[in-house]
Amino acid sequence: MSHYQPLERRIVTMPFLFLGVVALIGLYYLAERFFFGMGSVTNLNGGYPWGIWVVYDIVVGTALACGGYALAVTVYVFNKGQYHPLVRPALLASLLGYALGGIGAFIDMGRWWQFYNIFLPWQMNFNSVMLEVGLCVAAYIMVLMIEFMPTVLEKFKAEKLLKMLNKVLFFVIALGVLLPTMHQSSLGTMLVAMGWKIHPLWQTLHLQPLLAVLTAFTMGFAIVVFEGSLSSVGFRRRPETHLLSGLGRFIVGLISIYLVIRFGEILINGKFGLIFAGDLASLMFIIETALFVYPLVVLLSPRARENGRLLLWAAVAMLFAGSLYRFNAFLITYDPGPGYSYFPAMPEIMVTVGLVAIEIMIFLFVVKKFPVLPREEHGSAKAA
């Protein structure tokens, strides 16, 4: 018998309808983008070629979708089988998040009708970090689809296919660990070539890939805790605090390593004074650091780790910390020189918000119709 079950609740609820309206607004502006050009809906310009469509949808969005990655490492590489119940919802959220990243990349492509050039070997530039990110994200979306297949096959009782899939699943899972390690680190390497436009507090050159992959990991674990807590509140299910608090321990380790490297680099390269420069960058750095330190402090206490509410707050802080790290580096303190400024246009924001709304709608639909969430008794049995 499966450890998972569909929620089997009503699909069309008030929140669902609200999300639908938001999605429609986003789609309206998206259509405008394709008919009249990106300039009609975005504030992109010659100095800021990347706005929130790249920085949120791809750079931050895929990191928020690292739950499947973080759990795959925990369950299958470090053999912590007790976290298995969290895998399916995390995989679904990852699949949707990465799909958003893929769609974000496509709608942001100025010459989208030639997108296939990135898959043509004779067009590929192997020096390009962007090539690695593009190919790797595309491959990982497919890997996530395969990883999620057992859920679909279970639903339609395709036992034979399920058995066949299970035989090769180990290889797919291994790929599902390798690929995010590759492209999440490359998202950091991408900052290297942007050189002086990246603020010195975020321009760590050779350390970029390491910091990027560490933040992807912390955000992956944080989103699992966040989704786990939220779905127990939202769907009024028994919370899986015992499982989630265990993840809190991983997060403590990761944040500690991250902070040591981050501040070590700043100290060694004599950039410490920039933290107190009193400008926008120093303010953003302090906020970002505080958001990293808060979950560290909370999760260091075993009692706080067992407290569902504190755990949720720690996860939220962690998500904001990782997101802000990337927003700061890529956009907020990104400075192409005098004469250029950027703040997203309302239609531009609505496109991103609309796409996220669609993502949530699909998530709600799937957990209600497919065996994604763990059976409740499973959670309570293990709690003892």
Binding site: F35, M130, A193
Partner: protein, 322 residues
Amino acid sequence: MNRRDFLKASLGGAAAAATSTSAVARQNLEPAPEAVGMLFDTTLCVGCKACVTACKAVNDMPPTMMGDDVQWDSARDLSHETLNVIKVYTNGNPVTKDAETDGFAFEKRSCMHCVDPGCVSVCPVTALIRDPRTGVVSYDVDACIGCRTCMTGCPYNVPQFDYDNPFGALHKCELCNQKGVERIDKGMMTGCAEACPTGATLFGSREALLEEAKRRLALKPGDIYNYPMGDVRNPSRTHEAEVPDYQQHVWGEKEAGGTNVMHISSIPFEKLGMPPLPERSYVSISETIQHTLYSYLALPAVVLGGLSYVVKRNMDKEGDDE
């Protein structure tokens, strides 16, 4: 990237993976063997913008208008319809030309045709190409997917995307050697250098231009120098002028690996809006990281093998427990 480079990089990758130091870092690229470029001398520029008009004529681009001012092209900065622009520097009460304080000066902005171009390195689909012979950085519109990574990777914000066109493209100076123009291949000089009435924009080989630049910096301020116009190797005309007090700095000799379009000036370059660039190109660092990790996908393949083994073992164990 040719096979030999690929092999070298891959050996470097293997070595680095083994010793966890990138001993074989990718160095800055060297200038192309017959590199051509331009030398812009701000002290000679009178701000007439004949070069801006000539550039638009060559590229068939419309003048950029500001408000009701329809007398001349008033482009303020580079854009999808302005590949070359003259900007003005002013300080205090701007009365003296080329004076840093209480002065003014004109500065050209166009593609610098980097020796180690960021745009070329970061483009995923090889839509930006450095000509192996001339070093000219050109653009292939049929390859471009419009991701605009080149714009983030260019230290000078040169490539410009046409956001207002649903089927827009990238636009940048291709040193008048783009398809259908090919002035360099035909033995001609760039449109802007040809149009310049004072020799402020001078065309030529990178080598000859660098020599000319250094000759000027060595002159004594106040002396008379015979400034060449057009092509430095074969000037169309020359004109005599008083030597200004040059900054002892040829912009583009070394910055981020150097450029084929170089500038000299009597005002420090950071005041003219030039970016803070180290001598090592940023893309030589990102390529070192990239090839250390990914050459021949050797390292990922090894990791994948290890992961597959561990995952399979752990999954089998899980199965036994249940």
